[in-house]
């Protein structure tokens, strides 16, 4: 344990000094991971429905499934343990506990998810999950503290369990049973009647869910105001969440990919999604329907509620985690998300994030090498017509930079795609060619352009410099 603490203390300095030139992905603490798997397995065996409910059997199944889901995700290595970010999260959580003794802290388990989805959520039995994807958007510790307070409020107000109970009441209650029975019995107008049944239930669920969010904001603010964190950042957090899908700059593909021997062509970014049906475009869902289906109320409404109900203090910035350290932690999260997306086989997302980070760190070995690895796997999937498994569909994406990346993936021919990996890596002037990951990437890039002599050469270089290197098994 002492060793882990020692490593953790050293980690910030090593990571931050490296990030300009290189990056080494986090190695998660396996022991903590195994300990948690055991805890959840035990928890799952002991699921008890404490209160009197006619849906005891259903509730037991739901809770068991919920625990099993976490166990599976733990086994799939979807969380990070024993890292600087975990330490910072725990520090913030401890500060909240200190100022709010009413929170039953022994029941809370804060997990750091590897997912790139910007989200934080409470599972209802004490587990709160914060995704790396959310951290990349936050600006300081107070914002993160508000997110944690909001989730603690959900736990404290028992929102998840009450919601499950309510849904069962509505879905499996006597009235629902009788309606479904009547639909099943009658051969005619089945779908219309079923639509109406589902619509009513859905609207009710979404309405309750939005109410819960407002409540959690409110109690979260109460928790936050008792701490030394800046409560004015709560509104800022919601403002950030409101525009989370937008990038603050346009990608410069020329800057990232064009080299003396290779020119990135703007035509590759053109959309092929133009319909031949002109004005006969898809009918959008009615605004009323969209609003009714939202689980979260608009951020504007949430901000308004906070503004109306709380007087924000003129407290100075908290020093729990300095802004500089927080920003560095955020950068760390952005690098980790690339790694996570790549290993979760979300290759188009990984490629998008790599290009984004390369604008800031053009000479980072890890990013340049991962770019080649990413193109290599996408190339392979494209060749085997398996691309649909690994990339998102442009039509469901709102971020214009990500759309451009997806268009390039679709438009580039296999040959151009190979060149896209090969030339930037080969001709970028300030890369450290002795880095293990760069040698490995050079090997892959020469394989892509089918230069077997160069490929063998890189293989020999790797084997002589890194005889027991971590990419050894990838050579063929």
């Amino acid at each position: 344990m002492k060793k882990i603490i020692h490593i953790l203390l050293l980690l910030p300095f090593t990571v931050y000094s490296q990030i300009e030139d290189n990056y080494t992905p986090i190695c998660s603490d396996l022991q903590l991971q195994i300990k948690l798997i055991n805890e959840f397995t035990l928890k799952n065996k002991q699921v008890q429905i404490g209160f009197n409910s006619k849906f005891k059997k259903d509730l037991k199944t739901i809770y068991e499934n919920r625990n099993q889901e976490i166990i599976n995700r733990l086994k799939n290595d979807e969380f990070i343990f024993g890292n600087l970010i975990n330490t910072n999260l725990q520090t913030i959580l401890d500060k909240i506990y200190q100022s709010n003794p009413s929170i039953p802290n022994h029941q809370i388990q804060l997990l750091l998810g590897k997912s790139s989805i910007p989200n934080a959520y409470c599972l209802g039995e004490g587990t709160i999950i914060i995704n790396l994807g959310l951290l990349q958007f936050l600006e300081n510790d107070s914002q993160l503290a508000f997110v944690i307070c909001h989730e603690l409020a959900h736990f404290q107000l028992n929102h998840v369990n009450i919601s499950i109970q309510n849904q069962l009441e509505v879905f499996a209650g006597d009235e629902a049973k009788s309606t479904l029975k009547s639909i099943s019995k009658n051969d005619y107008l089945k779908i219309s009647r079923m639509e109406e049944f589902i619509r009513n239930i859905s609207y009710l669920k979404m309405k309750n869910s939005r109410k819960d969010e407002i409540q959690a904001d409110s109690l979260g603010m109460v928790y936050l105001q008792k701490t030394s964190f800046q409560d004015s950042e709560a509104k800022k957090t919601l403002e950030i969440l409101d525009i989370i899908d937008n990038d603050d700059f346009d990608f410069d593909f020329q800057k990232i990919f064009t080299t003396p021997s290779f020119k990135f062509q703007e035509k590759w970014l053109k959309s092929n999604q133009i319909s031949n049906f002109g004005s006969f475009t898809a009918k959008p869902l009615s605004e009323a329907l969209i609003d009714s289906l939202k689980t979260h109320p608009d951020c504007a409404l949430r901000i308004e509620k906070i503004s109306n109900n709380f007087i924000v203090s003129k407290r100075k910035k908290s020093e729990v985690i300095s802004t500089t350290d927080f920003i560095k932690m955020r950068e760390l999260a952005m690098f980790e998300i690339v790694e996570s997306d790549f290993y979760q086989e979300n290759y188009s997302k990984a490629l998008y994030r790599l290009i984004k980070l390369l604008h800031k760190y053009p000479n980072n070995s890890y990013l340049n090498a991962m770019l080649v690895r990413c193109i290599y796997v996408i190339h392979s999937a494209k060749k085997q017509h398996q691309l649909y498994r690994y990339i998102d569909n442009e039509k469901y994406i709102e971020n214009r930079n990500y759309q451009s990346v997806l268009r390039a993936i679709e438009n580039l021919t296999l040959k151009d795609f190979s060149r896209l990996a090969y030339y930037p890596l080969k001709e970028k002037p300030n890369l450290n060619r002795d880095d293990e990951i760069i040698i490995f990437a050079s090997y892959l890039a020469s394989d892509l352009i089918e230069n077997s002599v160069e490929k063998e050469n890189w293989k020999k270089i790797y084997q002589s410099k890194y005889p027991k290197g971590k990419y050894e098994s990838y050579f063929f």
Binding site: L189, I191, S192, E195, I198, S202, N276, S279, T281
Partner: protein, 522 residues
């Protein structure tokens, strides 16, 4: 894909929103009662250009006789354009959809005797689907012919769009009359033109191109229809017929025949010049074109006055033997058994795509016949894809043969008596040739020939779409596997935008249809 009934789970956004927690028993009831059925799906063209796809669903029963149907229109990228529900008789099938920039025209078919057998619906700028009423009711009394004529890709339709003007419709009405009509973008009939058929004769019309004032059509006059002789090959003559677009009056008609040869058109590329080039194959003067091997390829021009000029021919016997390896093609019958799917021009070259076939004895089927099975002793066997390349002056340049595994088509009992070329036409009618479609991008000097392929990989049967890509003088290949996942066997749709193949399949476990566009690597 037409006429296959698939069950599909009705997935709407509010269904997805509630799947988090609820009892398993309730979930099953909901799934069972929220299932709609796909009746058929197909392609939508604007002139000769593929613009999208339609899906026709049986949504729910209204009463004993009526069903609420759902039509979903997708663009060529599979983005939903709109979906509309309407109530109609329970026996109802969507046959064709056409789009002309202003509106969509839908042609339905019903085998019910209680209603007219055909119905038309229109979806125009008002964004509402409504039934088209024809004052004289002729359009509702059409009948379908089973024609055994080899036609170019995508023109075997009865609805053709004239952009921003209307829709041409061709059909046969009783008694023995060809009905041509122009329906405007709001569903009103602008003109109707009837051409009576002769005894034992009927005719079909397919649009090759529309100009500002003219419609250039390929007309098949099929005689000996329904006679004893007709079983062994109908006497088919092709005409290029030019109609006035304003009145529907026939302006000119050219018989595709001269003193020595009969010609069959296998090209459908729109030519915007005043002279329309036609390409295809030719036969001997006394041969029946649905029951004879083509003797070679031809090109000709049709002037705006309807005169056949500049006819050029190249005969297979001059070069086929020399171009084919003797080991693979031993007999003359094997060499000349070629079914031509398409003849087209790319830049200054002319290409013809053909598929090699023959009849193979199947001793196993003899045993089946003895125990009463309704099967022929012969298998119709398809083999390699041939691509002929001709120079601009119509001289033979090269023959590229693309080998593929043999594919067999089971013939019903007695079909072995028909001539081999007639059998090939039957196979074509049943869409059973391996050839799928050709995509041409003349600006880029490219074309892609797509065909099916079935191979054995060890013990496993693998199915794929193979693409032969021609790019500025050289060929390359690509392959898309159709059975990569155990639960799905994807089926290629009959057309897709250039450089892509549209695949569709039924995911059994999830009770849903998977449709996706795969880009061909080239």
């Amino acid at each position: 894909m037409n006429h296959i009934f698939f069950k599909i789970k009705w997935v709407v956004i509010f269904f997805c929103a509630v799947v988090t927690h609820y009892s398993v028993a309730q979930r099953k009831i909901i799934e069972k009662n929220s299932t709609i059925t796909l009746r058929n799906q197909g392609t939508i063209f604007n002139e000769q250009k593929l613009v999208g796809y339609y899906q026709f669903y049986e949504f729910q029963k209204i009463d004993n006789d009526n069903i609420e149907y759902l039509i979903k229109i997708l663009d060529h990228n599979l983005n939903e354009v709109f979906s509309e529900k309407f109530i109609e008789f329970r026996i109802f099938e969507l046959k064709e959809v056409s789009f002309n920039n202003q509106s969509f025209l839908f042609k339905f078919d019903s085998n019910s005797f209680t209603i007219g057998s055909r119905r038309f619906y229109i979806y125009d700028q008002s964004k509402k689907l409504r039934r088209v009423e024809f004052p004289n009711g002729k359009h509702e009394k059409l009948w379908n012919n089973q024609q055994l004529v080899n036609l170019p890709d995508n023109i075997d339709r009865s609805l053709y769009s004239i952009p921003d003007k209307g829709f041409l419709h061709f059909g046969n009405i009783k008694p023995k009359t060809l009905l041509l009509s122009l329906i405007d973008s709001k569903g009103a009939v602008l003109w109707e033109n009837e051409e009576p058929d002769g005894k034992n004769e009927y005719r079909t019309v397919h649009v090759l191109a529309t100009h500002k004032t003219k419609i250039i059509c390929l007309k098949n006059v099929i005689s000996e229809y329904g006679t004893y002789n007709g079983q062994f090959g109908n006497n088919i003559t092709q005409f290029i017929t030019i109609y006035d677009i304003q009145t529907g009056k026939k302006e000119n008609e050219v018989k595709l025949e001269d003193e020595n040869y009969k010609y069959q058109v296998l090209s459908n590329e729109i030519n915007t010049n005043s002279t329309q080039e036609i390409l295809g194959v030719f036969y001997g003067k006394n041969e029946k074109i649905d029951n004879a091997h083509a003797q070679g390829l031809f090109s000709a021009n049709i002037s705006s006055d309807g005169i056949l000029t500049n006819v050029k021919r190249t005969t297979h016997s001059d070069y086929l033997r020399k171009s084919l390896p003797v080991a693979n093609y031993k007999t003359e019958e094997e060499i000349k058994s070629l079914y031509f799917h398409k003849v087209f021009r790319v830049k200054d070259k002319i290409f013809a795509v053909a598929e090699n076939f023959w009849l193979q004895n199947n001793s196993g089927k003899l045993a089946l016949r003895l125990i009463g099975a309704n099967t022929s002793m012969y298998d119709f066997t398809m083999k390699d894809i041939f691509i002929f390349r001709l120079n601009n002056d119509f001289t033979f340049e090269k023959l590229d043969v693309f080998e593929k595994e043999k594919t067999k088509f089971n013939l019903p009992a007695g079909y072995g008596l028909f001539g081999l070329p007639k059998l090939a036409n039957i196979v074509k009618r049943d869409n059973a040739f391996d050839y799928l479609f050709t995509q041409i991008d003349e600006n880029e000097n490219q074309f892609i020939v797509n065909h099916r392929s079935a191979e054995k990989e060890g013990e496993v049967d693998t199915y794929s779409v193979k693409s032969i890509i021609y790019n500025s003088g050289t060929f390359s290949n690509d392959m898309i596997r159709l059975n990569t996942e155990e639960s799905i066997l994807l089926v290629p749709m009959p057309s897709a935008k250039f450089g892509n193949v549209l695949l569709s399949g039924y995911v059994k476990g999830e009770k849903r249809i998977e449709m996706r566009i795969e880009k061909i690597n080239y």
